[in-house]
């Protein structure tokens, strides 16, 4: 992964941390807190510096990367009328939301766990603006509009001005370009300030290695005071080593609804983080009939593609994942154990057997016989369970020492009484998928 979303709260904290350097001439009072329960909110309200939580009306939103919170009815800004939400009301709203699962209009579902709480900012529609920046093709693009809020997304073409900024453009030219291309309908008294803010915004986006940064709406109050009412941000995490001081310790939450990873997926992710090799596992359908254990990133994709194409029923595909980059025998065995355990938990409801694809392209320099050692050890442990669910195993692999690898694994299968067919580079990489499906009919 390269581009990773961060919480609205963390994005605003970055603005606040670097405000003086980038937005000199404007002011921003960073009044936001991130909480996971009503209790936590009340505790913070007692702390010095957070008196505003008791004194001002509040706004509460989930801060879990998903958008369209207003349309999903997940923005608390009124109790009886807009701008009257007290600390007490905010806290009990949060407690209510965390106690039940939430389903979004998009169908994503999960449990809310993080909320951003801020003061309610009274303002008029005229004070709302839109600004964002991202990369399109090889260029950066700055988007600006005099209309903010949800309205901007309807009629994007007419309402939004785009400025394409080439990667190698000098600062002076960027200033000039943004000046020349600012929205035509900017009110005269705000024009200078908005353009100046937009240029600052772009530099901030660029220098801090954001991949995407959007404020919507941006509210321009009197005396050059800015309010960032809503913010979406993605960072290029490959720049992390350059940004240690600028970013501080950054959290990259998983997408809403995706945080319910199974224990097995978590265990593989942890093993991946510890290892120099690459171990990935996503369970798509635990009841699925076809399980894959594929070496290599590209190969894992083509196996998944081919299974979906040829089986005609994507729910047959139980998992997606890869092991690559020279895992040790122990790591390979652990990965195989995890998959064999998962695939032997349930019998196929329609009484069909299971298919295990041990696949891979022609390795560059991974010793195939060595990596197969880990798989063979795991087969020995799970042989009975695999037979119980009627597993047929199809192996295809090439690369250094593949002949020995294929011979070893076939001998092990014969010894253990497992059904197995093995193929080398003379057989097309995904052809075992076709064979397995035709054989299974």
């Amino acid at each position: 992964m390269a581009q990773r979303a961060i919480r609205e709260y963390d994005g605003k904290a970055l603005f606040s941390k670097h405000w003086k350097k980038y937005f000199d001439g404007f002011s921003y009072s960073f009044k936001s807190v991130l909480v996971s329960s009503g209790d936590e909110l009340k505790k913070i309200a007692q702390k010095h510096g957070f008196e505003w939580l008791n004194q001002e009306p509040l706004v509460v939103k989930p801060d879990m990367l998903f958008g369209k919170r207003g349309k999903n009815g997940l923005v608390l800004f009124k109790d009886k009328k807009p701008g009257d939400v007290s600390l007490e009301v905010a806290a009990s709203w949060i407690d209510e939301k965390i106690s039940v699962p939430t389903v979004l209009l998009s169908g994503q579902h999960g449990t809310l766990t993080h909320f951003i709480v801020e003061p309610f900012t009274p303002h008029s529609g005229e004070q709302e603006y839109y600004i964002s920046a991202t990369t399109v093709g090889e260029d950066d693009v700055l988007y600006m509009s005099t209309e903010g809020g949800m309205e901007v997304e309807d009629g994007w073409e007419e309402k939004v001005t785009e400025v394409v900024i080439p990667i190698n453009m000098q600062d002076a030219n960027i200033d000039h370009l943004v000046h020349a291309n600012a929205p035509a309908d900017l009110p005269e008294d705000k024009r200078e300030a908005f353009v100046s803010f937009a240029i600052d915004f772009f530099r901030f986006y660029r220098d801090l290695n954001f991949a995407y940064l959007e404020i919507n709406p941006l509210v321009m109050l009197d005396n050059n005071e800015m309010a960032i009412l809503d913010l979406v941000a993605r960072l290029d995490d490959t720049a992390g080593y350059l940004m240690v001081d600028s970013w501080g310790k950054m959290e990259y939450p998983t997408a809403f609804g995706m945080e319910d990873q199974s224990d097995e997926e978590k265990a593989i992710a942890e093993a991946d983080a510890r290892s120099g090799a690459s171990l990935k596992l996503t369970i798509l359908n635990p009841m699925g009939r076809i399980w894959t254990m594929v070496a290599g990133g590209g190969a894992s994709v083509v196996y998944a593609d081919t299974i979906a194409d040829l089986s005609g029923n994507v729910s047959d595909l139980a998992n997606y994942g890869e092991y690559s980059g020279g895992p040790t025998t122990d790591e390979t065995k652990f990965y195989a154990d995890t998959i064999f355990d998962l695939m032997t938990r349930f019998k196929d409801p329609k009484g069909k057997g299971k298919i295990l694809i041990i696949g891979g392209a022609i390795a560059n320099f991974t010793d195939v016989a060595k990596t197969f050692t880990g798989i063979i050890q795991s087969l020995e442990e799970y042989a009975q369970k695999l037979k119980n669910v009627g597993t047929k195993i199809y192996v295809r692999r090439g690369g250094p020492n593949y002949k020995k690898g294929l011979k070893d694994i076939k001998e092990a299968a014969d010894r253990l009484g497992l059904y197995m067919e093995v193929y080398g580079p003379e057989t097309h990489v995904t052809d075992i998928v076709r064979m397995s499906l035709e054989n299974g009919e």
């Binding site: 990369t135 090889e138 720049a239 590209g298 994507v314 690369g399």
Partner: protein, 604 residues
């Protein structure tokens, strides 16, 4: 540039990645390249001058440099940079290389996870200069039968199985390196192998994209048809479609985008590379496959049908005569039991009919009619090239000047005493030579080192004296027991006269003489002595012969200057030894009255 690489292409390899370099050289040997594909290695932290590699069953040395500019100065024809720097350093390496105008045509970047903004800056800078960047995050590219980057293609066995040892007729472009291998294999089974292949890399921002590579292949006469293996995500495939529609590409294209699975799942499951996720409908693998099919590409129904499609297109081109049958070339085999050599010799060779000095048979340098003098032979064996006459004469002058200095100096004395003890010539000579060191004959090295330092750093004579004072040692090469300004050393006068007449210039000697003016103004006998004069003149000679500072300093540190003294003085020592033998002098015993005995008696 219609071909990415030829059989003459040479690369500079950034980072001493021994296994990858060895694989390239094994490939070179297998396909019988004339020159190795690696001209030089940049290893910023290594102190070594070269690295040994196998070339077939023999070994060759590849020079090491500290920086890319240093390497390119010595290897101006190496126009490919293989950048194996990490994600932290790769960017700086590329930016530095691009600035070397006209040097590199192609730069390959292997690092995965270079910050996106840096990758974009680097890719743009390369594009502005017309440099092709392959990667980042790639295993590279190959022009079968000509040049192979690092690990692409896998083992030699796989390379031969996949017919990557000779030019075929397919132009292959993929993102993934793993599937590149697989595709090469499929193409060798179902067609006649590839003519040129590039894995463009898996990161979101890569230097050369599909269209760049396919346009080049369109103009490469070896390429008869092309295969594009795309991926879900991005819009690069559409640029290829546009090029086909506008007629810029006319050769047949077989194509497939992997990642059709993604349509079945909500975003959140990352299938494959960093660049591989669809942000819009047009970026899905489905949409791209459909668009390419509509544009007349050969698009199979699924990845599993690719072999059949390739076979059909190949057969068709074969029957039309676009493609001819290829005769398989001979493959050179590499022994599995090759062994690294413990010794290296770069000056002479005794394996042929006649032993050679730097490639010249001894009979071609030995007799007077060959025009080679002793100094010529020395310059060949000591410095691996024949010096011009003024330098050869100087070397001989030095040898003659230092050949002897009478029987009283420590070395001659030792040699004489040993000879009188009845020992043979070699033992006597060695006992004399063993006295040569910091106090006897060593001033040549020191003089060369310090006067060169003063001269190179533009120290005024005054500054030089205070610098030497800080070093806490007397200036080597300055001062004589007897000789002085008023009583000059005629050996030095002779040397100076020769230098004035024959050296093109002698700036370090001139500098030393300025220093001498200052020292002799303090004390009359603080002259630049014969050791000092020889030392600085050697530096002048080497500077004039075009050696750079590093090389000259290496000579000094290796002891080459001292070697002139040792060699010259052997003549004198041997003379003294023979003199003793001739006179048949008895065993020497030093007289008691010449020794001060001052032994305290121990208490019993």
């Amino acid at each position: 540039m219609s071909r990415l690489f030829t059989r003459d292409t040479q690369a500079i390899f950034w980072n001493n990645n021994k296994s990858a370099i060895q694989r390239m050289l094994d490939y070179d040997y297998t396909i019988s390249r004339e020159k190795p594909s690696i001209a030089a290695i940049v290893a910023p932290t290594s102190g070594a001058k070269f690295e040994k590699f196998f070339y077939g069953n023999d070994e060759i040395m590849i020079p090491l440099y500290k920086s890319t500019p240093e390497a390119t100065t010595e290897h101006p024809n190496a126009d490919v940079l293989l950048n194996f720097g990490s994600f932290r350093t790769a960017y700086d390496v590329v930016m530095e290389a691009i600035k070397l105008d006209g040097q590199f045509k192609t730069i390959m970047v292997t690092a995965e996870g270079i910050p996106e903004r840096r990758a974009r800056i680097m890719n743009q800078a390369a594009r502005d200069k017309g440099v092709t960047v392959i990667g980042p995050a790639t295993v590279g590219a190959i022009a079968p039968g000509a040049f192979k980057i690092a690990n692409i293609g896998g083992t030699i066995e796989n390379i031969i199985n996949s017919k990557l040892n000779r030019c075929g007729s397919c132009g292959l472009v993929t993102r993934s390196g793993g599937l590149f291998n697989e595709m090469s294999n499929i193409i060798s089974i179902n067609a006649d192998g590839i003519a040129e292949g590039v894995a463009i890399g898996g990161d979101r921002f890569v230097g050369s994209v599909f269209i760049d590579n396919l346009l080049r292949m369109e103009s490469n006469p070896d390429v008869k048809y092309m295969i594009l293996l795309g991926e879900v995500g991005g819009v690069e495939e559409y640029k290829v479609i546009d090029a086909v529609k506008s007629g810029k590409i006319t050769k047949p294209i077989i194509s497939w985008c992997i990642g059709t699975i993604a349509k079945h799942f909500e975003s959140g499951v990352q299938f494959g590379h960093a660049g591989a996720s669809a942000n819009a409908d047009a970026e899905t693998a489905e949409a791209k496959n459909k668009a390419m099919r509509e544009a007349g590409f050969y698009v199979p129904d699924s990845f599993n049908d690719i072999p059949a499609t390739i076979h059909r297109v190949y057969k068709d081109l074969l029957s039309k005569g676009v493609i001819q049958k290829i005769e398989e070339p001979k493959v050179r085999k590499i022994s599995k039991t090759r062994k690294a050599k413990n010794f290296i010799c770069t000056i002479s060779d005794d394996r042929g009919e006649e032993a050679t000095y730097c490639g010249i048979p001894i009979s071609k340098v030995a007799t007077p009619d060959t025009g080679y003098s002793l100094g010529d032979v020395m310059s060949l064996l000591w410095f691996k090239r024949r010096y011009p006459k003024w330098a050869v004469d100087f070397i001989e002058t030095v040898l003659k000047t230092v050949a002897d200095h009478g029987p009283a100096v420590s070395g001659a004395h030792n040699a004489k005493v040993t000879a009188r003890a009845g020992k043979d010539v070699v033992s006597s000579l060695i006992s004399g030579l063993l006295t040569i060191g910091p106090r006897f004959g060593g001033a040549i090295d020191g003089a060369a080192k310090y006067f060169k330092y003063g001269y190179d750093n533009n120290l005024s004579p005054k500054e030089f004296l205070s610098y030497m004072k800080n070093q806490g040692i007397p200036i080597p090469g300055i001062g004589h027991r007897i000789k002085s300004v008023r009583n000059p050393d005629l050996r030095i006068s002779g040397l100076k006269k020769y230098v004035n007449e024959y050296f093109p210039s002698s700036p370090v000697l001139d500098y030393a003489l300025e220093v001498e003016k200052l020292t002799t103004s303090k004390k009359d006998n603080l002259i630049l002595n014969v050791d000092g004069t020889i030392g600085v003149l050697m530096v002048d000679m080497w500077k004039e012969l075009g050696y750079d500072d590093d090389e000259i300093e290496t000579f000094i540190e290796a002891g080459a200057l001292n070697a002139f003294f040792i060699l010259g003085r052997c003549i004198g020592f041997i003379g003294h030894i023979l003199d003793e033998k001739r006179l048949n002098m008895p065993m020497y015993r030093h007289p008691w009255d010449d020794i001060l005995y001052d032994v305290e008696e121990m208490e019993a």
